[in-house]
């Protein structure tokens, strides 16, 4: 899996690419938590457009990100979900818990 973090104005966008599983979720976790902890982080958006697979460890990382962001009054959104990751979020009954946006433009809109 590839992970890249970009600044877009006041927001950080984390681009993920590939499959998220037990072998790769710790790399994703580092990037997500770092972005939220960064000084003055107001909004963190996780880009799942190119993620074809996510397992429970990836979902756990998203939950951890959401919780840390709430504690720090940072806005945490995810966007670009393909069908398979969307189904996994539904199975976890978290599809109503996350702020899910269609694309990057929407994800960076208030």
């Amino acid at each position: 899996m590839e992970v890249r973090t970009r600044k877009v104005g006041v927001a950080s966008v984390i681009d993920l690419k590939g499959q998220i599983d037990l072998s790769s979720s710790s790399k994703m976790r580092t990037a997500v938590l770092e972005a939220i902890k960064a000084k003055g982080a107001l909004r963190v958006a996780v880009n799942l457009t190119e993620v074809s697979y996510i397992d429970s460890s990836g979902i756990a990382t998203l939950v951890e990100g959401l919780q840390l962001a709430r504690a720090r009054s940072c806005h945490f959104v995810i966007f670009g979900l393909q069908q398979a990751p969307r189904e996994v979020l539904e199975l976890a009954r978290l599809d109503k818990v996350f702020e899910i946006r269609v694309d990057e433009r929407e994800a960076l809109d208030s």
Partner: protein, 140 residues
Amino acid sequence: MIEIKISSDPKFLTIVRAMVGKVCELVECSVEEKNKIILAVDEACSNIMKHTYHGDLGQSIEIRCESARDKIEFVLKDCGPPIDPGKIKPRPLDELRPGGLGTHFIRTIMDEVKYEHVAGCGNTLRMVKFLHRNNPGELT
């Protein structure tokens, strides 16, 4: 019948998922069923790596797959210490906290889930999924 044996290293999970996906295509299940079955088998392997082998990469996991007219069955074998099936429990889903989702996925997706200790040589996990097809392809 298909059997695959991997070292208990998470980097091999991608191979397990590819194998399970191809098997699902052979028995012609729907894309949704396929995605879910891949997830369940992946989570079951991850759990063996994490909880049975405690991260030791040098152990092995065997995955057997068989299909009959209306179902597909996976049997996972490890060589770890006996696990207590009573302790394998999902967390309550209404608490929002990371972790504890894998067994929930496995039990929600699969129609039969059975953990068993094999005297002297590890544990088996048997998972069965019944398929909803008009014109089922058989694997064996």
